[in-house]
């Protein structure tokens, strides 16, 4: 049980210090691939409990930014902190996830060979060491958690079906459910409504708004009407750095945004 103790301790140390109200700090972050600057001196702050929308053209660096936060890509320079004290650059993907940053991919990825229930089971917030997993049995509270999430994402009936057999929209929902199960402090959501019906989109918007407050939510989305329906603060990325930030109205009237977007449309 020693492994368990040590990894519990590790998780405990990873509680972000948000006394300044900011949960995610990205400062002067740059990433380049073969000379192409995907992120260029990016500065971004996400407040604790806020719902932030990120928009920007293809190649503006949205996905790269998420990669950098979740540890998939290492920045060439810059600082990324979770709360005041946790340096995310020192952690690997799994540790970042355990610290409380959850991510939903653009293309829904669920564990297709496992059942819906097992997908959620694996995502629950708990010790994720091998030895612990080997002997783990679900307790009542955890079962309740899973049932609750199943209800939220509307997959109670499919709970024992294989995740691979779900429809595209259902997979999106399952993935969101998996995020919820992990009880993260920050949710990074990449294009959540791609391929969803209008109805599903509405439900997603509802869900994401309801999550804000308890969690910080960062949404990357192309669908402007969707963004408009949920957004309080919007950040526009352009060529790897922040172009503008503010309310939807502010953004729409921002001259740089206009120029860039109109300019891009004209080419």
């Amino acid at each position: 049980m020693k492994a368990q103790a040590s990894s519990m301790r590790a998780t405990e140390n990873l509680v972000p210090d948000t006394r300044h109200g900011v949960i995610l700090y990205l400062e002067n972050v740059s990433v380049s691939f073969d000379g192409f600057k995907a992120l260029n001196d990016l500065n971004l702050y996400i407040n604790d409990g806020e719902l932030r929308c990120l928009i920007g053209a293809n190649g503006a660096g949205k996905t790269t930014m998420m990669d950098v936060i979740t540890g998939k890509t290492r920045p060439d320079q810059g600082k990324i902190n979770f709360g005041q004290q946790i340096d995310l650059l020192k952690l690997n993907e799994a540790e970042i996830a355990q610290a409380g940053i959850g991510r939903k991919f653009q293309k829904p990825t669920v564990f297709e060979a496992l059942s819906v229930y097992e997908n959620l089971y694996l995502s629950l917030k708990m010790d994720k060491g091998i030895w612990y997993s080997l002997w783990h049995q679900l307790n009542g509270e955890q079962k309740d958690d899973i049932d609750r999430i199943l209800a939220i994402i509307g997959l109670t009936e499919q709970r024992h079906g294989l995740a691979g057999n779900l429809s595209h929209g259902q997979k999106q929902w399952l993935e969101i459910g998996m995020l919820l199960a992990a009880k993260p402090r920050v949710l990074l959501v990449d294009e959540p409504v791609a391929g969803m019906t209008l109805q599903e989109t509405e439900r997603t918007a509802e869900l994401l708004t309801s999550l804000a407050g308890e969690h910080s939510v960062v949404v990357v989305e192309h669908d402007m009407s969707f963004v408009r329906s949920i957004a309080r603060t919007v950040t526009v990325l352009h060529q790897g750095s922040v172009l503008a930030e503010g309310s939807m109205a502010h953004i729409q009237s921002h001259p740089d945004v206009k120029r860039v977007y109109l300019g891009e449309e004209s080419t």
Binding site: A94, A97, Q98, G102, L122, G129, H160
Partner: protein
């Protein structure tokens, strides 16, 4: 590979039960029936079955990493052989003065290479307990080091497969060298006894056979528990979407190293059980072709199902034994053809055939089934 095993715990009982029945039968038939009786099982068959079961254990190990974790190891023969060598070294030392040169300490091959003393790595090889430690440690450690390096730096897919192949190939070349102190090409052979029991007596053979089935049953049980535990689910999650698993918060490299090491230890145990039954261990076991064959057992049986691996190992080994005797000139056609046909027609292996057969059978004889 859609096998929601979690819902059926019965294969465990079936496989262990069958193993038990078979063992019991073989023991009785070998001991109590007269050699000319129809029911008698000869010593030859006992040894042969024992050998097959060692292969089955090995296949189980390969299936655990390939079928469940998606790591296609083309180097499991190396772990098998290392376990075998650990056992072989112990058996070699048990020969003692009965070697052809009558040297009480040195094995024959060292005497005629004019070595004066045992090399350091033979230390403790005359102790049974140390042998057991080495059977676990040698393959386990190699797998741990190799796995820790490879999985940390995220070597995967064909790169990993080819690297495991390079590993076993390097070991093959190394063990061929006479300077290595493992008997070179001839390997270790001419064993006399184990724990004082003669390896040539049918009692010892039977005991070894029973031990093999016990280990196979035990290994099956453990593997079954593993793949049905939460850790097992994580492993399967890694197989299907490794980076997603990482973002859910699992250190996938650790899981992979753990399962790879465990599988290597199983392979080592299989090797250790194999050596006293076939009477020789030599570098040929490290040959990359052998390791490919192991993968083929699993593929033919049905990857991702533990009993499929066992079935595959038994069927292919048995086919090889029969084919080499019935059609010595053409058996490679048959074996090669079998590999091609199974991969083409039965992507889920032989055990994948079962649901179809069952449905057919139910259509044909609905009543009989009801009985």
């Amino acid at each position: 590979m859609n096998y929601p095993i979690s819902k059926f715990s019965s294969p465990l009982q079936r496989v262990t039960g069958l193993l038990f029945v078979m063992t019991l039968y073989v023991v009785i038939a070998n001991t109590f029936f007269a050699p000319d009786s129809f029911w008698h099982v000869s010593d030859y068959s006992v040894t042969l079955l024992g050998k097959y079961l060692c292969y089955a254990l090995l296949a189980l190990a390969v299936d655990l990493v390939w079928g469940y974790c998606g790591i296609l190891s083309l180097g499991h023969g190396a772990f098998f052989a290392l376990g075998g060598y650990a056992m072989g070294m112990y058996l070699m030392r048990q020969i003692g003065e009965r070697g052809v040169y009558g040297n009480p300490d040195l094995p024959d091959f060292m005497v005629f290479l004019s070595w004066d003393s045992l090399p350091w790595f033979w230390w403790g090889s005359d102790s049974f307990v140390w042998m057991i430690v080495m059977v676990v440690l040698a393959p386990g450690l190699l797998a741990y080091i190799f796995g820790a390096m490879a999985f940390r730096s995220r070597v995967s897919g064909v790169y990993l497969s080819i690297m495991t192949q390079a590993m076993t190939y390097a070991l093959l070349l190394a063990f061929f060298r006479n300077e290595m102190g493992f008997g070179g090409n001839n390997g270790l052979t001419d064993f006399k006894d184990i724990l004082g029991f003669s390896l040539q007596s049918s009692g010892t053979r039977l005991t070894l056979f029973v031990l093999t089935t016990v280990f196979l049953g035990l290994a099956y049980f453990i593997c079954h528990r593993i793949v049905n535990s939460k850790a097992g689910k994580v492993v399967m999650a890694i197989r299907d979407a490794e980076s997603r698993t990482r973002f859910v918060g699992y250190n996938t490299a650790k899981y992979k190293v753990a399962i790879f090491t465990f599988s290597a230890v199983l392979a080592g145990i299989a090797g250790a059980l194999y050596v006293p039954q076939v009477g020789i261990i030599n570098p040929g076991e490290f040959s990359p072709i052998n390791s490919i064959e192991m993968v083929i057992w699993v593929a033919i049986g049905g990857r991702g199902t533990l009993y499929g691996a066992i079935v595959g190992a038994l069927v292919v080994s048995y086919a090889k034994t029969r084919f080499t005797a019935i059609m010595p000139e053409a058996w490679l056609f048959a074996l090669g053809g079998l590999f091609v046909l199974v991969t083409l027609l039965l992507p889920k292996g032989l055990v994948g055939l079962w649901p179809t057969v069952k449905t057919k059978a139910q259509q044909l004889w609905p009543k009989e089934k009801a009985l």
